[in-house]
C-alpha cells in the first residue's frame, strides 16, 4: 500500500512535467498548426536559466581565510554574502524560485523571436519541413548549451528549508515511514497551478476566447477583423514560458544536462499523441496518465513479471492508441485522422 502510494506521487510528479511540456506543444499545434520539435529545447533553456541565475548569484571574490593561520589561505566568498551577510546567503539558497523571475521574460523573448524569426516562414510548408527545421533548431540550442555549460549535469539544489522530506504518509493516515521530498510536492502543486492558470487564461479572458475561436476556425476569426496571427504569436511565446517554467522548477529534481530537452521531447510528443493532437485537456490528462503508468511499470513487482516493461510502457501505449484510436483519448473528431 505504501509503495503504491509513493508510486502514485512519483507518477503525478513526472506527469506534471510531461503535462506542462505537452500543453505548450498542443497550444502551438492547435493555434499555429506547427509541429515544434524544438519545444523540448525550450524546457531545457528554462532549466539552464535556473543554472545561470544560481551561478550569477554565486559570483564570488577571493578573500583571505582567517580561520587558517599558519599559511596564507584563500576562500571564495560570494559577493552577496560579503555585502549582506545572512540575507545574501538566503538569496543564494533561493536561487531556483528567484530564477523564475528571469525565466518568464526571457522565455517570452525567446518564444517571440523564435516564432517571428523562424517558425512563421514555415506555416505553408509541409509538416515534414516543420519537423526538420525545428529539429535542426533543437540541435543548435542543445549545442549552444553544451558549449556554455559543459556536458555534465549541473546540480541545482532546492532551498534549504524544503530540501528534506515530508512525512506525507501521516497526512493521509498511512504510516509515518512514508516520506516524500518536499520539493517534489511543491513541483506537483506548481504544475497544477500553471495548468489551471493556462486554462483560466484561455477560458476566462477575452484574449483566450479569441484564441479558442481562432483554433476552431481561423479564417472566420480573421474575417471578423481580428489579427489572429498576432495572438497566435503570443500563444507561442506563452507555450515557451510554460515549458521554461517547467524546466526551471524541475532542476532540483533532475540536474539539467544538455540532452534533457531531447529526452523530454520524445516523451511529450507521445503524450500529445495519446491525449489527442490539438486537445489541451487531453494533453494534461495524458501527461498525468502516462506519468502514472511509467511509475507503476517501474515497480519491482511489475518488473519481475514483465522485465523491461518500465522502459517501453509509454511507447507501447502510444502505439496502441495511434492504431486503435488515432485521434487520441480526447481528440476532436477528424483532427489528424487520415
Amino acid at each position: 500500500m505504501d509503495a503504491i502510494f509513493l508510486q502514485i506521487l512519483n507518477g503525478l510528479d513526472k506527469g506534471g512535467a510531461y503535462a506542462l511540456i505537452a500543453l505548450g506543444l498542443t497550444l502551438v499545434f492547435g493555434t499555429l498548426g506547427v509541429v515544434n520539435f524544438a519545444h523540448g529545447a525550450l524546457f531545457m533553456v528554462g532549466a539552464f536559466c535556473a543554472v545561470s541565475v544560481q551561478a550569477l548569484l554565486k559570483t564570488s571574490e577571493r578573500v583571505r581565510d582567517e580561520s587558517i593561520t599558519f599559511f596564507e589561505a584563500y576562500k571564495e566568498v560570494p559577493y552577496l554574502e560579503t555585502w549582506w551577510g545572512e540575507t545574501g546567503t538566503m538569496i543564494i539558497d533561493w536561487a531556483v524560485p528567484i530564477s523564475l523571475l528571469l525565466v518568464i521574460p526571457f522565455m517570452l523573448l525567446v518564444g517571440l523571436s523564435m516564432e517571428r524569426g523562424l517558425i512563421r516562414h514555415f506555416y505553408k510548408r509541409p509538416h515534414a519541413d516543420q519537423i526538420l527545421v525545428t529539429f535542426g533548431l533543437a540541435i543548435v540550442i542543445q549545442e549552444i548549451i553544451k558549449a556554455n555549460f559543459g556536458a555534465n549535469p549541473i546540480p541545482v539544489p532546492a532551498p534549504d528549508i524544503v530540501a528534506g522530506s515530508a512525512q506525507i504518509g501521516s497526512w493521509f493516515g498511512l504510516s509515518d515511514n512514508v516520506v516524500y521530498p518536499w520539493w517534489r510536492i511543491i513541483y506537483l502543486i506548481f504544475s497544477l497551478t500553471i495548468i489551471a492558470a493556462v486554462f483560466a487564461f484561455l477560458q476566462l479572458t477575452t484574449f483566450g476566447m479569441v484564441v479558442r475561436a481562432g483554433m476552431h476556425n481561423r479564417e472566420m476569426v480573421g474575417l471578423l477583423g481580428i489579427n489572429i496571427q498576432k495572438k497566435f504569436t503570443i500563444i507561442f511565446a506563452l507555450g515557451a514560458v510554460v515549458a521554461g517554467l517547467a524546466g526551471a522548477m524541475y532542476t532540483p529534481i533532475l540536474p539539467p544536462d544538455y540532452h534533457m530537452g531531447m529526452d523530454f521531447l520524445v516523451l511529450s510528443f507521445v503524450v500529445v499523441v495519446v491525449g489527442g493532437m490539438g486537445s489541451l485537456g487531453g494533453a494534461v490528462a495524458a501527461g498525468f496518465l502516462l506519468g502514472l503508468l511509467q511509475s507503476f511499470a517501474s515497480m519491482n513487482e511489475v518488473k519481475s513479471i514483465l522485465p523491461g516493461i518500465d522502459q517501453i510502457i509509454i511507447y507501447l501505449v502510444a502505439i496502441l492508441i495511434i492504431l486503435l484510436r488515432p485521434r487520441g483519448l480526447f481528440g476532436r473528431e477528424g483532427v489528424m485522422e487520415d
Binding site: 523562424l118 515534414a128 519537423i131 535542426g136 540541435i139 542543445q142 520524445v266 488515432p326 487520415d338
Partner: protein, 376 residues
C-alpha cells in the same frame, strides 16, 4: 522510357562507379583519402540511399531508421561470434534480420501517415533502444556494446581453419576487411545499392511510390492498394539500413545501442535532405559531406585554429579563433545544426538543387526555372 534514357542511366552508373572507385585519388587534396573515412562515406551513402527510397519517393518521414542500422550491426557481430569471421554470412544475417524488423515495424506504422507515422517509427526506435540498453543485455551487451572475444565459438571457422592466436580479423575468403580492401568492399556494395536504387527509381514501382507521395487518395481511387507498395518501400529501405549496419560491423566488429538512438535516425534524415531529397545522387553526396565535415571539423582544436589564422595580426587572429572555436572540435554538431536549418530554409531541394540553380544561372538564354528533382 526511351532508349536515350536507358543510355543516360547507364552513363550515370558508369560515372558513379568510376567516381566511387577512384575516390581515394580525387579525395586526396581535401585530406579525406584515408580508408576509415572512405569506408564511412560508402556505408552512410548506402544508409542514405535506402532512406531516400522511403522518404524521397513516398514522402513518409521515418524517425526510426537507426533501428535497422543497429539490428544489422548486432546480427553481423553475432554471426562473427558464432559462425565465422567471413563477412558474407554476417551481411546476409544482418540484412535479413533488418528486413524482418522492417516488416514488423512497417506493418504497424504504415497504418498511419504524416506526423503519426513519424511518431510511430520514433516510438518503435525508442523502444528498441531502451530494450537494447536494459533487458536485452544478454544479446546486446548493454552499455559496453557487443564485442568479439578470443574464446568465441566460431563454429564454422573451427571446422576449416586452425584457430590462431588473438582475435581473428573479419575477412572475405581470406582478404582482410580493414583499410583499403575494406573500403573497396563497401564501395562495391555502394555501387550495387546505387544500381538497385536507380532501377527502383525508373521502374513502375518507383513511379507508383511517387504517385503516393503526390496524392495518395487519388492513387487509391485509381485502384491501387497503396499499402503493399509502401510496405515494400519501407522494407527495402530497412534492408539498406541493415546492410549499412552490417558493413559498420564488418569494418569495425563491434555494435552498440547508441547506433539506434533517435539522433542517429535524425542524422540520416539530415544527410538525405542536405544532398537532395528524392534525387539519385543527393543522398550519397549528403552522406559524404556530413561524414567529411564530422571528421574534419571535429578534429580541429584550438591550436590548429591559431595555426590557421596565424597569417593575420595577433589581435585579429585571436578574435577569429574565439569566434570559430565553438563551431569546431566537440562543437561541430552546432555547425551541423546550423547548416541543417539553413538548408531547410533556403535550399529545400538540397545541394543537388542548388547545383542545378547555379548551372541554370550560367546557361546562356535559359530562365531560372525550377527543374524536376526526380532525376539526378
Amino acid at each position: 522510357m526511351g532508349k536515350s534514357n536507358v543510355a543516360k542511366d547507364f552513363m550515370l552508373l558508369i560515372m558513379f562507379t568510376a567516381a566511387v572507385l577512384t575516390a581515394p585519388i580525387w579525395l586526396a587534396p581535401i585530406g579525406a583519402n584515408y580508408p576509415d573515412l572512405l569506408q564511412k562515406f560508402a556505408i552512410y551513402g548506402i544508409f542514405a540511399i535506402g532512406f531516400n527510397i522511403l522518404f524521397g519517393l513516398t514522402g513518409y518521414l521515418s524517425f526510426g531508421h537507426a533501428v535497422f542500422l543497429g539490428v544489422g550491426s548486432y546480427a553481423t557481430v553475432w554471426s562473427f561470434k558464432l559462425l565465422t569471421m567471413n563477412v558474407i554470412p554476417g551481411i546476409l544475417f544482418g540484412v535479413i534480420l533488418a528486413g524482418v524488423f522492417a516488416v514488423a515495424i512497417g506493418y504497424v506504422s504504415l497504418r498511419r501517415s504524416g506526423i503519426y507515422f513519424s511518431i510511430l517509427t520514433l516510438a518503435f526506435a525508442q523502444m528498441s533502444y531502451n530494450l537494447a540498453y536494459s533487458v536485452l543485455t544478454p544479446i546486446t551487451n548493454g552499455e559496453t556494446g557487443l564485442q568479439l572475444k578470443i574464446n568465441d565459438p566460431r563454429y564454422l571457422d573451427g571446422m576449416f581453419i586452425e584457430a590462431g592466436a588473438g582475435i581473428p580479423s573479419t575477412n572475405l575468403f581470406g582478404i582482410k576487411m580493414s583499410g583499403y580492401s575494406g573500403f573497396y568492399f563497401c564501395a562495391a556494395m555502394l555501387i550495387i545499392c546505387f544500381w538497385i536504387s536507380l532501377k527502383i527509381f525508373r521502374s513502375p514501382f518507383g513511379v507508383t511510390l511517387r504517385g503516393i507521395k503526390s496524392n495518395q487518395n487519388r492513387m487509391k481511387y485509381t485502384g491501387f492498394n497503396t499499402r503493399p507498395y509502401l510496405l515494400a518501400a519501407f522494407v527495402i529501405s530497412g534492408m539498406y539500413a541493415g546492410l549499412a549496419g552490417s558493413l559498420l560491423a564488418v569494418t569495425d566488429p563491434l555494435a552498440g545501442a547508441e547506433r539506434m538512438q533517435w539522433t542517429a535516425s535524425g542524422e540520416v534524415v539530415l544527410m538525405t535532405i542536405l544532398g537532395g531529397l528524392g534525387t539519385l545522387l543527393g543522398p550519397v553526396i549528403g552522406a559524404g559531406v556530413i561524414k567529411y565535415f564530422e571528421n574534419i571539423f571535429s578534429s580541429i582544436g584550438e591550436n590548429k585554429l591559431q595555426e590557421m589564422f596565424s597569417g593575420f595580426p595577433e589581435g585579429v587572429s585571436n578574435v577569429l579563433t574565439h569566434i570559430v572555436s565553438p563551431f569546431v572540435g566537440s562543437g561541430w554538431h552546432l555547425t551541423l545544426g546550423l547548416m541543417f536549418v539553413l538548408i531547410i530554409i533556403f535550399l529545400p531541394g538540397g545541394i543537388i538543387s542548388g547545383f542545378d540553380k547555379l548551372m541554370n544561372m550560367f546557361k546562356p538564354g535559359s530562365k531560372l526555372k525550377p527543374r524536376k528533382t526526380e532525376d539526378s
